[in-house]
Symmetry: C3
Subunit: 327 residues, 3 copies
């Protein structure tokens, strides 16, 4: 395997900007392939050749084999390769729905294998509260917090998913998210270490953390601690201001190039740590897809290595495999 | 008439970034055509072929016929077509100056007809208060509020303008603005319905509303309700954050692609509702003209339909007419 | 000498985004030329042909003649011309380190002359306080304030630097910064007038002032008053909001084209006042170098005069000399 470059590094558009229900109120998961095709074509028209199947849009874990074939077919026709799956708000330690979420997560791994998707991301964040849903930006209000008593359960269940993924030849990535066991750099690293499997790493989505209306960890400290364990990466950025004398915090979604996190520096470090994972570009609010497209262009133009032969470090976890010219 | 595409949809630069007085303190309306030419050339140099004659820059309603010919001549020479007029802060129900503003509005329609401008936008916002003028952004402080007792008067006077416009073959568009009868989606739609004329519709300038330092209507609800009645569109965007627990609101002007309002989604819906009106790109503060130019490029590249033959809905109001290749 | 145009106006990348210590913890000033080369190559790769040697990255005033030759050689090889020096937080009226800072400033002038750098910027801002260093953005908390009693000392010492610079054929530029004698437009102009030397002017870095969490001078007033005395220009921008009813202020770094300051208008005025100085593009936070590159492109595309022969005013201070085609 050769190392990835700006030209062929897999960059997937998050399906995050697309709602999970159609104009008719039908679930996208239950909709006809034509409905999927329309979104996939829009993503392709924005210049993407790869897609992250965010399950707020489409739950492949709930599709039959025949329907998975349909999905693969329309993706092929649209010209976008489903390259990763992000299952969100399906915590396996949810006190009410943990068992169900675990079963769903296993089905999602099976679907990934059928679709030829190597990278699957899970998180410990739970459903938004009613108060969160009433905000302009849900992250401006506190939501679910993991209970330290559930640490062992988290390790057991995520390990179970890791083993299943391993049998299928897949890697599992755990998404950082506030107030969960994946909510700080130290805790996230400890969780991955406690799981201790080569194919289970981190998705250091530090954009989730720099947007909060409260004091935050330094973005660079988070990068420094978590990137050695990263095997997938949700990237997005925010403009942020704080007035600590008044206890005020403000943050708005921003193009990756303009926000607080210096992704030029972060990626240089990531490569020194051996990162070769899928990059999933995200953006909340507004015309998310257009900003995602700009984020992709920014990465290819300014951030990713132009040529092979750069010094690539050795990651603490297994990286996905991409054949030369796959992108 | 064929439907508009990204290539020929009329996009006008707002003259909003240009002051109404020259460096010498003279009113632009009283200035020599050379003075107009310099602004029009700057707008053309920014890549625009169409202009919204915002009357905070130039009041064509106060020009003689000879001076209107001069204006048309310098615009032709500069290569920008005056395509719409936005008369602002000239409310016809202003208690002090309503009669005068009504007369001015009629003169503005006559001037539009002479200039071959089909679209004229009026509003019910009134002069900024002294307190508003003292702010960095005037919209961060409350200003004039319409009195419900004046609803009938508004309907009568705007209908009178609508009839005059109809006789001249023009359309009238009513600009949404906070705390006026055009300040909420429901009220704006009701006003247009009460007027009930085919050539009187809405200018859903929801950027005016998403920048306020107070709770706001959802931008999407406003789009959904008002676009069926839109016949002209001031578009601009803002990055916005709220901290509802502390009762804090912040908003700053942002390029259309980066702000809160998803214009990709809004235009798709607008077209489903039959919108084929002039788009007037605006931006407050900073280098407004350069941001307007970016806004135009964003619309043509990412938002407007690439090809004719798309499914165009039927608007509740008459749309302006553009010959193929007019742009 | 012919007047500068968009094509050849010298635009230098600030070295501000680069830290003063290497990954090994060594001072960049003490590091091997290879270390310098890596940063200079990154700057060149971002499309820059000129560099501002910001002394938070490298203190040329502390290099031996041999090391200065090494620096010149690696810059030549990387393809970036060191065009200005910005010495920051080295106030010559610092009560503790004023003598040392004065000696350092003299050495910096000598180094500039050896490197063929004509423009050297000094400021009166002092070291960040511990509280400032603990903020996300240091400027959200008050720092050092100049003591009016030191005005005479400031004039004397800066005049001494001005004389030395004059002997070397250099110009000195004084950077605006809050709460120093260069903290308001009036005070900055008065300081330059009191110094009264043709080769000592202002660096009207008004971005330093529009980001503060407190009431600010109007950016345009600052431009109007200071540009007649400008001989160098740190340019950067911020998105800013104020809620004066609540006494709240919010500012985040923004690309020059998107922020509060209208650089299109500011540069038109600057040229009317005879400005022909080096432009140093800056940006704090995030991927500063990429934003600096966008700032440069914005200036060349939208702001600077396209052709020679424009009306150039007469500056109150001497401008640097650039041969045609030097850039």
């Amino acid at each position: 395997m050769t190392s990835l470059t700006a030209q062929n590094w897999p960059i997937a558009a998050a399906a995050l900007p697309f709602p999970g229900t159609t104009a008719n109120g039908e679930s996208v998961t239950d909709a006809a392939p034509d409905e999927w095709a329309s979104t996939l074509t829009e993503i392709a028209d924005a210049g993407f050749d790869r897609l992250d199947v965010t399950d707020s849009w489409l739950r492949v874990g709930d599709l039959s084999e025949g329907r998975l074939d349909d999905f693969a077919a329309v993706a092929r026709e649209a010209g976008v390769v489903p390259t990763s799956i992000s299952a969100i708000r399906r915590s396996v330690i949810d006190h009410a729905n943990g068992d169900e979420n675990l079963a769903y997560s296993h089905r999602t791994l099976d679907a990934a294998a059928l679709l030829g998707i190597e990278t699957v991301s899970f998180g410990l964040h739970q459903a938004l509260t009613v108060q969160q849903q009433a905000q302009l930006w849900f992250w401006t209000m506190d939501g679910h917090k993991d209970d330290p008593a559930d640490w062992g359960l988290a390790v057991r269940r995520l390990s179970e998913l890791g083993r299943h993924a391993g049998e299928l030849g897949l890697i599992v990535s755990l998404e950082m998210y506030e107030d969960t066991f994946l909510g700080t750099a130290d805790s996230a690293v400890r969780l991955v270490q406690d799981i201790g499997m080569d194919n289970v790493g981190l998705n250091p989505d530090i954009g989730n953390l720099v947007r909060l209306h409260r004091p935050i960890e330094s973005w660079w400290d988070m990068v420094e601690k978590t990137l050695p364990y990263a095997n997938f990466w949700h990237v997005k950025n925010y403009a942020r201001d704080e007035d600590s004398a008044r206890g005020e915090y403000f943050a708005v979604p921003a193009p990756m190039q303009h926000g607080l996190i210096d992704y030029r520096r972060a990626f240089r470090y990531a490569i020194e740590q051996g990162f070769q994972g899928v990059i999933c570009v995200e953006n909340y609010g507004g015309d998310g897809l257009s900003v995602c497209a700009d984020n992709r262009d920014y990465l290819r133009r300014h951030v990713l290595p132009k040529r092979e032969g750069y010094a690539l470090g050795t990651s603490r976890v297994r990286q996905p495999r991409f054949e030369g010219g796959a992108s």
